[in-house]
Amino acid sequence: MSKQETDLPERLRAAGASVLERRLLEAAGAERPARELSERMARAIGISMVTGGSAGTESVKTDIGVPAVKATSASTWLVPWVSGALLAVGLVVGILVANHPGARPSAATTVRTAVSSAPAASSALAQPVPAPARTAEVPPAGSDEPLPRVAVPASARSRRETPAGELADQIALVDAARSALASGGAQRALAIVRDYQSQYPSGTFRPEVSAVKIEALIKMGRTAEARTLAQRFVVAYGPGPLAARVARLAQIPAP
């Protein structure tokens, strides 16, 4: 390949454009979503966005109510106090759970969110909660009972290399979900998948459990949800044999 073939010319807007060409390109390049649209998108992905103030400044806060401000550059100055606030929440929850190991939280979402927010460098990690025996987390056959939540900080798992024992735990859950599905327990398979996704948000087998979830939803007749998830799946993980299988099951175009 010659140099001439790969060298790209200067961008049109910088040189060589007609007046109208430049005008159209500049207008298209300057287009921005309306503030309401930006806020809607942010809410949908779990952060809230407060626009306003001086030009070029956007304030955002996470859905756990901690404000973060970006003014043209990265908001690294925020990290310490954001982490501190989250650490406090994480520690309180950690202590509560540690003191009541048998207690099930009445508001699981609150606890799960708080636990998830525990920072990687927290002192909670210095005294890790021992992982429970995996067999205790897999519900008995025929049970649709949601799985108990375990207060292991997610960041502790996702920020280090996966040890062999944890990998075995992940595999056990994937196998359990697949077995449940194969034996007609779609609801149970779904519960196991939810547990996996909660326990291992960055787990090695995310594609596999997502595929099980989609198949379970199809078997339960929840085809609209399954199809949307399948479309998301093929974008995220396709093309490949698993994406092709998911697409076929959900009757969407193969990636």
């Binding site: 790969t6 998108m41 982490s83 525990a118 920072p119 909660s198 948000p201 949307t228």
Partner: protein
């Protein structure tokens, strides 16, 4: 909306570092992602839906995204999301009456009209050329970034860009003539 597996897909458990990273990625890149979807012919609302879908997918795959490839990952994901919406939804129909569109764009108001006219021009390019043109000329990606994103050799990026410029100039010239001829006498 009651909780479904779709709402559950927004993970309740997100490590703090990931949450901060996603927030930063959103602030840094959501406008560009939305805009790149708009250039495919999606309406502002459709582009917003596809943008949030893109970030939902990014959230699930943060661990796989190198820090220096976030922009390329987001644009690539947005592109695939757009494909799943179907080609007809992100390109104007080619048999549309361009002159009529030019006329309505002229009446819409300055900046908005120019964006519409740009989209009209892009709609007349073949899709693969338009894609390269938008990424280079509007979004400012480098040629290696575009080559990696589209999975084509660097030489193809250069040749696509050359052809895209020719086609774009041809259409813009036609638009210019249309704008001049449709000007009402004072």
């Amino acid at each position: 909306m009651s909780e479904t597996e779709l709402t559950r897909e927004r993970p309740a458990i997100v490590p703090e570092a990931d949450r901060l990273r996603l927030t930063r990625m959103f602030v840094d890149h959501h406008v560009m992602v939305w805009r790149s979807l708009r250039r495919r012919g999606l309406s502002p609302d459709e582009a917003a839906d596809a943008t949030q879908e893109t970030f939902m997918i990014a959230l699930g795959r943060l661990a796989d995204v190198p820090g220096d490839s976030e922009r390329a990952f987001l644009i690539g994901t947005a592109r695939r999301v757009a494909f799943t919406l179907g080609r007809k939804t992100f390109r104007w129909q080619l048999d549309d009456d361009m002159d009529q569109r030019i006329s309505s764009a002229r009446d819409a108001g300055d900046e908005h009209a120019d964006v519409q006219l740009c989209d009209i021009a892009l709609s007349k390019l073949s899709p693969e050329l338009a894609e390269t043109f938008v990424l280079y000329e509007i979004e400012g990606l480098s040629s290696p970034e575009i080559a990696a994103l589209l999975e084509v050799p660097l030489g193809s990026v250069a040749s696509r860009l050359r052809r895209a410029r020719e086609q774009f100039r041809e259409v813009v010239t036609r638009i210019e003539r249309g704008l001049l001829s449709s000007k009402r006498p004072p």
